[in-house]
Symmetry: C2
């Protein structure tokens, strides 16, 4: 069986951990599997490099940033290949370029366009264990690009798809995907399997186990992904196509996301075209808007609220004031101490009443809901940040997820 195994930064964070990872890989080989390894930079390394960059330039050039950050994974592949070779295994390191991971030219968040993987196929044919630098590729100018935060997951999944691997194992510092964050809900239960769609909602909702784009990629090419712990034994969680088992369950998990801020335009003249004059400039500034709510207008005026990532709030302040002036809004309100709590589950398609029970549960705890958004398999509520943990705990219990 051909498997791709990806190890994150904490899994290769020091010499002892790299040796442990090498032992895990050796075990897979002994079990008869062909293994392709993908690794991240050693934990702490990216932050060290970022710090140096920001000490030299307030806004470091993005091409140079990719040149800088891509070194982190290169260090890890060389060290892990050395460790494997010291164990008598024939391993060899490959950079994104050597694997033929071709991307567009959007430095610091490039998109993979194609993967040739010629050298990986050759290596596998020769019984070599390829150790691949995650997170990076090259563009058509032969410049190094990086795939954005969590990009090593994407490398692993994309490589698994390109090589038609049977499995893509994402080794990380958690045991799998849980019904809720075990730090908040001690009775949270590890899920045996979860659908790509659910995982996508969970990933985008702040469960930082798998990068969203890697889940999209896995879904597109139907790569079975297993999330499991580098340090503890256990089966982990299988991320796969939706099946009947999954539909039996009304709600698979509850997640929280503190990376939220809210902007409200108060007293906005309520006529057509207003929305585009607000969200046009916001979009141009590369600020990702999540939820939008427009209150029912009283007379000619209306209030309009939307949420953005909290880190963009600072960038958005000036812009929002300019927009308010432009559209003739009375004032702008900014709020950063908010959070989003969400229920996710493919079972919602066939079970009604999830939303009602969610609102009741929050109301019973005296938690005020500021905004609501829903999709086929998800319901999210924006609440005060201070209420996030009690909300998650109450919902976990109400939907009997433990």
């Amino acid at each position: 069986m051909l498997v791709v195994q990806k190890f994150g930064g904490t899994s290769v964070g020091n010499v002892e951990r790299i040796k442990h990872v090498a032992a895990l890989i050796a075990k897979s080989r002994q079990a008869g599997d062909a293994v392709v390894v993908v690794v991240s930079a050693m934990s702490g390394e990216t932050d060290r490099l970022l710090k140096l960059a920001h000490e030299l330039a307030p806004f470091p050039d993005e091409r140079e940033m990719d040149m800088l950050l891509s070194t982190g994974e290169r260090v890890t592949i060389a060290l892990l290949a050395m460790a494997l070779r010291a164990m008598g295994l024939d391993a060899r390191s490959y950079t994104g370029r050597q694997v033929g991971i071709m991307t567009d030219s959007t430095h610091t968040r490039a998109r993979i366009e194609r993967i040739t993987a010629e050298r990986i196929k050759e290596a596998l044919d020769q019984g070599i264990i390829p150790v691949v630098a995650g997170f990076q590729g090259i563009n058509e100018n032969n410049d190094v690009t990086t795939l954005g935060r969590g990009g090593s997951d994407l490398t692993a999944v994309a490589l698994a798809a390109a090589l038609h691997a049977e499995q893509c194992l994402i080794y990380t510092d958690v045991e799998g995907i849980f019904t809720a964050d075990p730090n908040i809900v001690p009775s949270a239960r590890k899920l045996e399997k979860v659908s790509y769609e659910e995982m996508l909602e969970l990933a985008s909702l702040g469960a930082k186990v798998l990068q969203s784009r890697s889940v999209e990629f896995a879904a597109k090419y139907e790569v079975p992904v297993i999330v499991k712990s580098t340090f503890k034994k256990g089966e982990g969680t299988l991320v796969t196509k939706e099946d009947r088992d999954m539909e039996q369950v009304m709600v698979s998990g509850v997640t929280g996301d503190r990376n939220q801020a809210k902007i409200t335009f108060i007293g906005v003249p309520d006529h057509p075209g207003i929305a585009s004059r607000i969200f046009g400039p916001i979009g141009s500034a590369n600020i990702l808007v999540d939820m939008i709510i427009q209150n029912v207008g009283q007379g000619d005026l209306t209030d309009l609220s939307f949420t953005i990532p909290r880190g963009d709030l600072h960038k958005a302040v000036d812009l929002a004031n300019r927009i308010a002036k432009d559209i003739g809004a009375r004032s702008v309100e900014l709020k950063d101490k908010i959070a989003k709590v969400s229920l996710v589950g493919v079972g919602m398609r066939s079970h009604s009443g999830v939303a009602a029970r969610m609102f009741e549960t929050l109301a019973a705890k005296g938690i005020n809901i500021m905004m609501i958004s829903t999709s086929e398999i998800k319901i999210s509520c924006v609440i005060e940040e201070q209420h996030l943990e009690p909300a998650i705990q109450a919902l976990h219990q109400a939907f009997e997820l433990g």
Copy 2:
């Protein structure tokens, strides 16, 4: 004027120093020069990576070692390019591969075979300052190679040759080439200029300012090299073709080298073919033999001594014992506390009596000479290591170098 400027590890050792280097480059630009920059890894970085490697593998694979160590220069090029851009200069970083530095496949000490420098020429045409990673290239398999210790000097000189640059400036932590090590001889004088040949002898004799192969390369392509300080103002030392001025001076400098060890075979049967049975296996073990002395035989037996780099002594012990057994030598003596003191100067070609005065000077200080070797422009004596500093001081004074 097109100049190549190379900055070593201590010159880019931290954020402040990188900023200082950026300011030096900016000054050259303001003076109207086109500049190509070559940098080493930040001081300490290579040692950090080597330590990690040796913790994972007693004998790390050399291809992986190159993958690992080549990241050091990549970090520096990205940071320096960022710093230059933050100053409003259009700078861009290039790896050895992007510069087209093609080498053979001798990992960890590859030889440059050719340099295309296409992207550097393009960058220069566009007024961009290229910042190039020293020390590295790629082989025909597209694998990263490194050029060995001091390889960034070679990158700079080779690039200067390929681009037909007017000058190659080697910025370092000393002010130039001195008549002797100023730490040992406080009255040592900085040389205004020195010939390639002298520099080659100085470099190979342990004056660690310029890597030997870079001097050979500079001589071959007649690249004027200037060695100067990153931190202090001053003209530095010009390394150039031999001229009449240089011949006027009998001796240009005196150097010492502690990286010496001696092996003596005692009671060797004195018949033809013995030397090859000794030096064949030594050469095969990649141990570089420097001086060789064979005593006048007494009867059928002779003693044979030779020097090797001290770091190879450990590797040579077993080998020497095996050779002694093979050739029927009575015993083997190993000695590591020796050093080599040398006088260098193209003037020796036209001045006689240098050797005699050297021996007299050492004798007057009671310093015993164990071995002697000479070339056209150099005389070296092997002495006890404890005598090295007094020998250098005495010779510096005797030849009026101060």
